[in-house]
Amino acid sequence: MDKQLCVLPCNGLDKSLGVIARAVALNLIEKKPDFNLICPVLLNTGDEKYESNLRESRTIVIDGCMTRCATKLIEERNQKIYKRIFIPDMSKKLKIKPGTSLKLSENAKKLAEMIAKGFIEELKVSEKEDIVIVAKTERMDFFDITVDKFYFQVPKEGYFFNENDCWIKPDSNRALIGITDYLQNQSSDIMFVELPEIGQEIEQFDDVGSFESVKTVLQLISPGSGKIVAVNKALEEHPEWMNQDCYQQGWFAELELKDFEEDKELLMDGPEYFEYMKEKILKEKELLDKEKED
């Protein structure tokens, strides 16, 4: 290899995945002291040494979660990413759950070590560049609410919702179904999905599949009845789309509707669901604050 390699981790602190990204970077440096470690926060202050390192080297970015903070730092500089390590993908590949603790657990330590070791092996055999997938989605209008630092959105129109925080978007006799922003926020980073079978007949409020995050396993409860005619297979490779874009790219399955007029009687439209969700969030926050006080 003729060019120096830089390692830029996201260094996130509010999720276990960021803590692991940092540990992977430190592991890489320990194993390959000739790699240059870039501190993402110092880079942001305009550190010239780092800037020139990035210009003159090939950069490995390590992103803990779908916010892709490390990737964004490179994109902002219009520079190319040589390799990208995405912790949720690696966790899935290595079958080691990252856990939720902000303190590096034994499992997380093992995961970080294995990612670093595997990555160095991979570097030896392949220099193929990674492709960062950017998907285009249509513009939508949302109701929104911020509680503490958490932000929740509900589409203003075109979608209907059940009390299980799942949505349905009808279009003639077909409809897409998925989870709401509230549910994706509750579940945190989604890492695995279990999609339904195509052809399966389902009733309204049937459990049509599940998704697993770093925190929990949850079911998608169908807001409509009918036959599954398509599933979003891409979620198996990119479960993070359910977090990033739960109302569009993160759709779960498509239904051929049985009787949506009847289903609709038990559903809420955008404004109604927004009020319902808002009340739920504020109640939960009050309970949580009270619990902590006790």
């Binding site: 470690l37 110092l42 959105q153």
Partner: protein, 139 residues
């Protein structure tokens, strides 16, 4: 509903101060003042959050809530970021200043603080908690 105080650690990578800042922030938010504080992720703060959320939630929180920055070294990365995106932080804690008062506590490394380093992180966390209380009293 009570307003919370944002805690933003520099989270630096190069020095042990960054590791101490992360550990101390976690202790405050998880153990010492869980009800009054919320952790702000410095890299997320810089990146601006998810695009679909307008990329602003961490920055907006710091605009609308008092925020304590914890600096692992003299570069003041957390303070600079808060200043740039959200306005002046309520107060800043300098790890180095506290560490100098406890020369006997030597963190093992930036990868692993060790027993001494964790003790130091607890002391730093206590200092941050005091600042949190002061901010609540001054409201």
């Amino acid at each position: 509903m009570k307003k919370k105080v944002g805690i933003i650690a520099c989270s630096g990578e190069k020095l042990v101060g960054g590791t101490l800042s992360r550990a101390a922030a976690r202790i405050v938010v998880e153990k010492l003042r869980p009800n009054n504080t919320i952790i702000l992720c410095q890299p997320l703060f810089m990146a601006g959050g998810l695009e679909r959320h307008g990329g602003q939630q961490e920055r907006d929180f710091a605009k609308n809530h008092p925020t304590i920055t914890i600096e692992g070294c003299e570069e003041e990365c957390a303070k600079i970021a808060v200043d740039k995106y959200s306005g002046k932080p309520a107060t800043t804690i300098y790890i180095q200043e506290i560490a100098e008062m406890y020369p006997e506590l030597k963190p093992k490394s930036r990868e692993d603080l060790g027993e001494d380093g964790m003790k130091l992180a607890e002391i730093i966390a206590e200092e941050i908690a005091k600042k949190v209380d002061e901010l609540f009293q001054s409201k």
